[in-house]
């Protein structure tokens, strides 16, 4: 089908630099999710691919062809907007067939295409209604129907689920993924919700401050974050971050938080001179243990969530969260011991936030 290549793309709005040099390749048929906080530039990048904005620098290719100077209508892409952008004065049928009518496609072909798309999305009984007579979920399906009727080279989604309630969002996530499997179309999906990114993406592009922070599969970003931003953004409950430093006790290097030894680890490359480091540890990787080598902690709060328990702990004056699927019999102000496996500890530079790895 179609690849999308973005090379050295920058975008400025007056003096404000929103995208600062983006390089990304989307493979044919891939479902790529751009994720990041508000203002990170993900929607701007999507609009540049669509042609709704012009790039200040760099090249955008769709299907190998440079499209920088092509208007949106000539790029053969379809977009689903956050607000659906359905034409209020047209029926569902006319909304879906608008693009084909613009191309003066024969009426029979239009009717077939609309019927097929309608059947795929469960819209058959709604074709004569106007958008204002539809629910949010129905409108979203019509917006998707309008996109798939065109059989475009690529699909662009701009936070399409943000306006839906939680349950509907879950259902639509599944339906969008199912549709992607059936159609196999190259898709770029923008969201600020990291759960959507994790569950839907073939690859995630994490963005912050107009720069791509990391590109990889969901589990790559989860297990092997490139920096503190990605580690903090992906995963819920979020990763714990503690200030620690490397000490050499009896020749064996170790990681210390407060006055407690956390793990036996060799110092990584790029460690600051004073040995300070930020460590990251995911809540579900902390175990409640009782051995002598464990770390002492004081329980601050116990939150049963049904699917598991979140325990808020205080270790050496710093706070962290533990997640377990058990229901431990502990209460606030208890002193317990916790276990942390050295393999689960991630090291970050305390100032820049870059991931520090061991030179191998």
């Amino acid at each position: 089908m179609t690849t999308i290549d973005i090379r050295g793309v920058e975008k400025n709005f007056g003096p404000v630099s929103v995208l600062k040099g983006i390089n990304l390749s989307v493979a044919s048929g891939e479902f790529v999710v751009l994720v990041g906080p508000s203002g990170c530039g993900k929607s701007t990048l999507l609009r540049l691919i669509a042609g709704l904005e012009d790039a200040s620098a760099g090249e955008i290719r769709i299907g190998g062809r440079v499209v920088n100077d092509l208007p949106p209508k000539d790029r053969d892409i379809a977009m689903v907007f956050q607000s659906y952008a359905l034409y209020p004065h047209m029926t569902v049928r006319n909304n879906m067939s608008y693009s084909l009518r613009l191309k003066r496609t024969p009426k029979k072909v239009i009717a077939d295409a609309v019927a097929k798309a309608g059947a795929k999305l469960g819209l058959q009984s709604l074709e004569d209604r106007k958008p204002r007579q539809l629910s949010g979920g129905q409108r979203q399906r019509v917006a998707m129907g309008r996109a798939i009727v065109r059989k475009p080279k690529a699909f662009l989604f701009d936070e399409p689920l943000s306006n839906l309630d939680a349950r509907l969002r879950e259902q639509m996530r599944f339906e969008i993924r199912k549709l992607h499997r059936e159609l196999g179309a190259t898709s770029v999906y923008v969201t600020h919700d990291q759960i959507e990114a994790m569950t839907m993406a073939d690859r995630i592009v994490a963005m912050n401050g107009g720069i791509i922070q990391q590109v990889g599969t969901p589990l790559q970003l989860y297990d092997d974050p490139a920096n503190r931003f990605v580690a903090e953004f992906i995963g819920s409950p979020a990763m714990n971050f503690l200030d620690a430093w490397f000490v050499s006790a009896d020749g064996a290097p170790g990681l210390q938080v407060g006055d407690q030894s956390i793990a036996k680890l060799a110092p990584p490359a790029g460690l600051p001179a004073d040995g300070r480091v930020t460590i990251g540890i995911r809540p579900e990787r902390i175990a409640i243990g009782g051995e002598t080598e464990s770390i002492g902690a004081r329980v601050e709060l116990v939150e049963p969530t049904g699917v598991g328990t979140v325990v808020h702990l205080e270790v050496g004056g710093q706070f962290l969260k533990l997640f377990t699927t058990d229901r431990p019999r502990i209460a606030a102000d208890d002193l317990i011991h916790i276990d942390i496996n050295s393999d689960d500890v991630r090291l970050f530079h305390p100032e820049t936030g870059t991931r520090l790895r061991h030179a191998t």
């Binding site: 669509a50 209508k73 892409i77 977009m79 607000s83 952008a85 034409y87 693009s99």
Partner: protein, 280 residues
Amino acid sequence: MRPVTLRHAGYWTFHYLLVALYVIVALFPLFWMLKVSVTPNDLLYTEGVRMWPSRTTIDHYTSVIRNTDFPLFFLNSCIVSATTSVCTTLVAAAAGYAFSRFQFRGKAAIAGLLLVTQMFPLVMIIAPIFRLFAPLGLTNSLIGLIVIYTTFNVPFASFLMQSFFDSIPKELEEAAMIDGASRFVALRQIVLPLTLPGIAATLGFVFTAAWSELLFALMLNSSSNATTFPVGLLSFVSKFSVDFGQMTAAGILALLPVCIFFFLIQRHLVQGLTAGAVKG
């Protein structure tokens, strides 16, 4: 339950009373005009102030239509007002769309300039405009009036149209452009049908403004070919008397096209007046 319903009923009676009072005050001058226009001249001053004359006549109407140039003035007004409202709306729609959708250098300066033109009292500009129009042959002509009315109405109409376009989400045109429409086609097929209330409101405002304009019509025209009806009404005021009967008859006749025009667009007008205020 009873005390609450009574208080409720009392509130609504008071409410309708106030509305009725306002309607009476607003419509009374029109009623008085109608009453004077059907009062024969001999009863006009002799019967004193009455709600309705003892004898009515349509002589004033027939006299206005047959014996004066009023039909010509009326026609001139119709031509000038209709053309002005159409031209102004076309220009204002284009300008309003540009202000609403585009960012361009000098946008603030142009908007500022448009506002500044609204700050001048018209009396101040009559003489310079006359100096401009006379050599161009635009005095004593309907075209001159259309030009000057359009010029003075475009700023206000542009801002009015801008607020109507602002209430249409940008994403609608973007969706249309992605679907395969050029920006102009998107404007024509998607945006304009949704701004019909705004267009109706603008047409209505400009038509009314042009219809009742007196100053330029009086100052720029001296021959009766290009005279509009407000100036024509003045001709019923002579050095020694005022022919109230004919004047009010002419006034009632002049009300008719405006009433018909508003009747046709009033369905769109209410929506148009409030739609600009709240995001659609």
